[in-house]
Symmetry: D2
Subunit: 503 residues, 4 copies
């Protein structure tokens, strides 16, 4: 950045001394403002165009300012802008100082007319956050799709479904994968809902009470692709619920991924042996040659914790800020971007990981076959065929399992006689089933086929759910593309106006 | 509860020993299940009716079970049911034990057919939570309305608008109140969005993999007023994002109330003197006779912290639960209900408080009149009339304020000459304004009248925003009433079916 | 409580109206003050004795007040005191109102002389918290002892030590148990350190600035068994770091228990099969007869999350309270007691659980024997005998493991030739070991015996560590007993003085 | 770093494929490891020296490795080492790859003998964290000293002491400042206590179960200045309570600073006008020329929230990690360093700020003089001279204040007659004081002089507390210097050994 420019302190009209060095570093958000550098230029350009169209600044001045901003953008992209936190409090000061440095106080000094850093930083956060939300939304859909595709492949992979990390019922692996695709679709819905609160323009609120100048807030909003205004000027500079909402959605999403990671870490233990991570996602030991560590999954888990903590920090910080703009409301940026960095990278890696997972179908199947997880099927058979009440059937089968465990037999191996014995012991009378019914009921391999309820892992339901999933992913993708196109359209319009005024 | 019933342990078919006393207390959720006692009965009734309509249990058995459930409900309402955590793990066990105790294992034991505590507890939480959400939504609208009415009363109350707890611009008190009504409308929107994820039926998922019995999930959902199913059976018992979402919305809402409380505590200090709490909301000192303490507001502040912490706890707990039901997922109830208790009581008290607030209009006005908060107006006047750039005007007025401070003068008292002097010093040339413009610009009393932007506290904008606010509150009320009516309709239908089967 | 007493509002000298009903409920801490009811009486008694000894109130008045307080204590213990939050803001008001109700304003009204609720509530929290800390400390030592005893029993139980939930090295189960006993000893140290900050008397700070009356703060402190004063009167009423510190220690302790619970849940899965929970600590399924669920462990896990959240809430609440007493500082009690309730009950249940755990030694041993976890031993043998560098040995053994996996062989089964082949492939030369060394190195059963480092699971180190553990537990027990005795001594002295003045 | 070295993947003996690019970035901690780069070299050097002294590697090999490490350190200091997260998982891999690259697999490959990344990263975190703790401790003492000095200057500055942000009693500004110095001394104590848990060596635990090589753990510990070992090898690699404890202490400290910041923001409002921030710590508005914003204080406030959130994140992450090393335990570094960065910079800036604060003694005094905060003094005078009970006196003075407020009079202005009137109204009899007593009692200027209790703001107590404060700060400084000297001594010894072996 040219030497003649911005010796800093462009705002310090009234304060006698420059900021103390250490204080300047403590205060400056310049380094973290990398995230909103171009957003600040975009927002400023839209503002300047509006100022010109409203007759507040001349066409010539507007042209010069816009040209300088475009030059700055170019220098920025080429990595020529040095960020010195002792020199500038934030990106807003840097950019204005650059323009004033180039064009002088008389022309450059007009750029900020009718605007304050208070509405400006709210604008920049919203501009950037909406982009981050759309990106995350896209990644969420990519992961949902990866899960759906994997589920399609694993429709016939028998597996034990767990509750309490214990065998519960028999199902298919696809059912597990579908359940998380469903979680992610809700995450996508939450991101969409939150986008609507984010994508509103605060600009024109000025410091907190609006301006006496004839600013056209709607025009700026339109040029920047916003769907509306945060109308009340206090609300515009002081509220941060829009970003708390986004942080909440990210945290909930991370909770989902963390739980999946918990499952997969467990499943990749040699005791479970259900899944092997692709080599290119596993990490070796520095010393134990035999290891293949699911480090990526462990990091998913810990980053979920970090995101939840960052959210807790945001809530704690914001809850005690008096109304109106205070610097605390700038300091939300580092945790906010970190939440999105951690979340987006985690969703991304998870998609690649899911695509590369190799499930050990044999092991999954074997475990299911030797499990007692068809005990509930047997109990339900007793209800249907022998007319027992659930509670009676529960006792009979419970006793039968106890006997099987003592003898080291599966239900299949134990056979009908043990069932009858168990019924005599618990109900005081012999209850039985036809051999066919018994055999079917205790056969884990066919267990899911007999499941009769909506949303169960029966093959029919699985197919139906996969289809519905596909439709819903597509529908969410369409909605996302619509939002993206709206932003592109606004962007093109803004670019056109900028070029017209420059030339 | 009659002695013959439920020696506890109705589920312990297989386990040899009764639960250890201390463990039973640690484990039991019975005391906190007070919150879902009737929900559990409602859900069970709908389930039993479905079982009968699907031909899984007879009409006669269904009738007996339903009658017993209604008797239990009656005993509960009369306070006759003792809750002994050492006897029952939870309300689900207590209720089934009651029915089995009355009707015996053969009939009573049919009540739980095709159901598991896993889908049952998810059902109960959803039944209760949706009610809590609707109640909270209603309270939020009541508070928004109280703010709107207060704002209507304070349309002409001049006040300083603060940034950094420093004087920023001049506005009206109504503008402040409107800004929070806007926050609350967004809170209402978030509650509505979240209601849609909560109001879905998980019942029929059984333990985790559905049932081989021909359960009609949609029928149960309809009888209970749900708008749809959580389809996938794993999703139904394992997911808790629906309640995390509700907890997030509550936390964001509490952040809003906490910030308002921060303002009001400050404003009720004798240094500010802007507002007096109604006596019936203030607390005296136990020892200092002169005190009138804003304790209610301080508790709003601290309870916001508590709610944020409870949310952090929920996230931390749920994020590490493997997929499928685990007992951790029951243990979310105490923090969840506490979040809603704290939040709902806070919104309620805040409404009453807002209604009773007495603002000291004179003090507010005086402070505005002697403030430098019209400095920005003066700077904008220099831009409009003297053609200065914002940055030039900023310097001139900044210098003028410095001179005023040194001399202890307001801008009005200082007059045009000091402006001219300041311009000479900072710009090296004399810049001036017409006397009329100057006088208008530095007059705090008329400052908001000149505000030209959308969403500013100008009288015109204030009226427009108040009107819009009214419309939006009404519209949200209508939506809320619709949801409530749907629940009532379903409730009536369920009651009718119950009574028909009983008689 | 007798009707003639305390129509409430004993403090409301200046405020015109009684507190609004809803506000009273919102404000009152009466229900949660159950926790400090007797502490408030104790503290008041010590205060009254001091007032008498300093000549501020007469012996006769003191006697009457003390007798009334003792009567109240008796009624409280008999469950005769009704707590009505609409009537009293807190236990302090209730107790004073009771005394005033009995003795009239002239005598009863002297009880609170020189005291404020601000120092009084700080006193009560400290009195109660120090007791909770000592109790928790005792439970922590009981659990450490249970772990030590279990470790003594499992000194020869071979097991795989895990990193990344993958087999890492071979050790003994005792080593695992000792490691947690070590954690708990640090927890005990932290509780002791924190006790020192808690066990200081704030009384005598009055509202915030001390009193003009000749109160003897040291005498009160001594009567109540405190080790010193929180001297500065602002500090005494405003600081809450003492309880944040206690909450932090509890949270860290819960993190330890949660991690152990994670292990045990995993180990009780049928895939691991390492441990069986005692029947009396396990929970059945309501529907799946085969289940034995580790619910207690799952609750340990979730309650750790809840405690961490409660801590986060406390931090968030306290961080924004201006200096001096504010009602926020009362509202810390519910989360604080909940933290201690959850933590203490969890440590307790964990002790009983550890005592009852039945480890499946065969399964643990088998898994160790067929594991590759002696690969590091083999690599170290190559370093010692064949002079390879660690990195060379790592490559050779890594290759050997890869070959073994492909062929489904253990290292033992694969034998020396495969090692030589692996070395040729990776280092380009044949490296070998003596057969004896090789056999020893790859034998998991003898692996821990060869461990040479301090703190390793070698039998010698295990014995040494068990002994040291015993000494340290004993030493911490002695320190705890000392603290308890000090409290008892003070308690006796206070009782004596009370009885003397009453009679 | 020379091209021939470390094509990455030094550990990937067994895994077929290099890590996927995206996964590598997700996994690598290289960028954050900047914080422990030299610690890793130091730890490695001590380890290599021990290996040589134990005869595990030759003197010649040790010398070469140490020389290479020193060369690397030099290159690092000169900024020549490029950190490429796609190439190395962490600093440990980078450093070993560098050495292997220079010295070849045969010699360089010996560096890591008997060590694992698991104990290594625990070592590095402890080495770095203990330094951060000592630095923070030093800054805490500097701030305590700044507060003490300021308190000495403000011993005679009369001020209102606040409770509930309302006037409570009269005191001196010094009293406020002393109270925070006391807080900070406790923070220093907590840091010292936690240092003892941090400053223990985990090295020699190897992966998790120790080594078969004759490593001398105590020697390494001594060379690195540790005060002991984390003995049990599982404990050494798996436990993280040492850093949770440090994070807790930092969070509590930040809570203190946040509360002070709350006060100072308030006090710098024009309504209070108690303090002016030094210009070099204040920030101007970008648009309002009159503003001088306390941004630094606002950031203190928000950073306290962020630190609390980071702690919540650490707790949430660690609580669910199974025992043994997992990658989650590496991922604690970014939040941990951020906690210390935020906390240390905040304490530092606060010291400078306190030194520069200019209190407006007149305004403070005026506010005290016109306050009702001497009402308690008056009540106590009634107790002492007129023999009223506290509760009677409270009523009388409460009524008097009410009358004063209605008439707009101070207590002084109202005079004795109003007191008598108030007593008649509330007690039904005239109670009075001697004129002298009354005048003294209601004179705010002399109020603190009459305070009789230990720890009150009486001039005598103030002097005593200032002296004690001085002694305690000195004593803590001595303890800190001792710790620092111990580290320096060890450092010198290690340097000597390194140089001896190199040459």
């Amino acid at each position: 950045m040219s030497g003649e420019v911005g010796e800093g302190g462009i705002y310090r009209s009234r304060l006698g001394k420059p900021m103390e060095r250490e204080a300047a570093q403590y205060l400056s958000s310049l380094l973290e403002d990398v995230e909103i550098f171009e957003e600040d230029i975009d927002g400023t350009e839209a503002h300047v165009i509006m100022l010109q169209e409203q007759g507040i600044i001349t066409r010539s001045d507007a042209g010069k300012i816009l040209r300088t901003l475009e030059e700055l953008r170019e220098e920025w992209r080429q990595g020529k802008i040095k960020l010195d936190p002792e020199k500038f409090e934030d990106v807003h000061e840097l950019i204005e100082a650059y323009v004033v440095g180039r064009l002088g106080l008389q022309i450059g000094g007009k750029m900020h007319t009718g605007r304050s850093r208070n509405d400006q930083v709210a604008l920049d956060i919203r501009l950037r956050l909406r982009r981050r939300i759309l990106n995350l939304w896209g990644e969420v859909l990519r992961l949902a799709e990866a899960l759906r595709l994997k589920a399609s492949e694993e429709k016939k992979t028998l597996m034990v479904l767990y509750t309490h990390t214990q065998h519960a019922q028999i199902g298919f692996l696809s059912h597990y994968l579908i359940s998380y695709a469903e979680h992610l679709l809700r995450d996508a819905e939450r991101l969409e809902a939150c986008y609507r609160h984010v994508n509103l323009s605060p600009l024109g609120a000025s410091a907190i009470g609006g301006s006496t100048l004839p600013l056209d807030r709607l025009k700026v909003a339109e040029l920047l692709g916003f769907e509306g205004l945060v109308e009340n000027s206090i609300d515009a500079v002081s509220s941060r619920d829009f970003l708390l909402e986004a942080a909440c959605q990210a945290a909930i999403l991370m909770v989902h991924l963390s739980r999946m990671a918990e499952d997969l870490v467990l499943w990749s233990s040699s005791e479970f042996g259900y899944v092997e991570l692709p080599d290119e996602f596993a990490s070796p030991s520095s010393i134990m040659p035999q290891k293949k560590n699911p480090c990526v999954l462990e990091l998913v888990r810990s980053r979920a914790g970090r995101v939840c903590g960052l959210l807790a920090g945001l809530l704690a910080s914001i809850k005690s800020v008096p109304t109106g703009y205070s610097r605390d409301l700038q300091d939300v940026k580092p945790p906010l971007w970190e939440i999105f960095n951690l979340t987006e990278s985690t969703v991304k890696i998870f998609s690649s990981l899911v695509e590369g997972l190799k499930f050990n179908r044999e092991r999954l199947g074997e475990n299911a076959l030797k499990s007692y997880a068809s005990a509930l099927d047997l109990a339900e058979a007793l209800i249907k065929e022998a007319g027992l009440s659930l509670r009676e059937a529960h006792r009979v089968v419970g006793e039968m399992v106890r006997l099987c465990l003592a003898k080291g037999l599966t239900l299949q191996e134990a056979g009908l006689p043990l069932l009858e014995k168990a019924s005599e012991k618990t109900l005081g009378r012999k209850v039985s089933l036809s051999l066919k019914t018994f055999r079917e009921a205790v056969n884990p391999a066919s267990s899911p086929m007999r499941r009769a309820t909506l949303g169960s892992p029966s093959p029919r339901e699985t197919l139906r759910m996969l289809k519905r999933l596909r439709d819903e992913i597509r529908s969410s993708e369409r909605m996302l593309r619509l939002k993206l196109r709206n932003l592109e359209k606004a962007e093109r319009k803004l670019r056109n106006k900028v070029y017209k005024l420059i030339s």
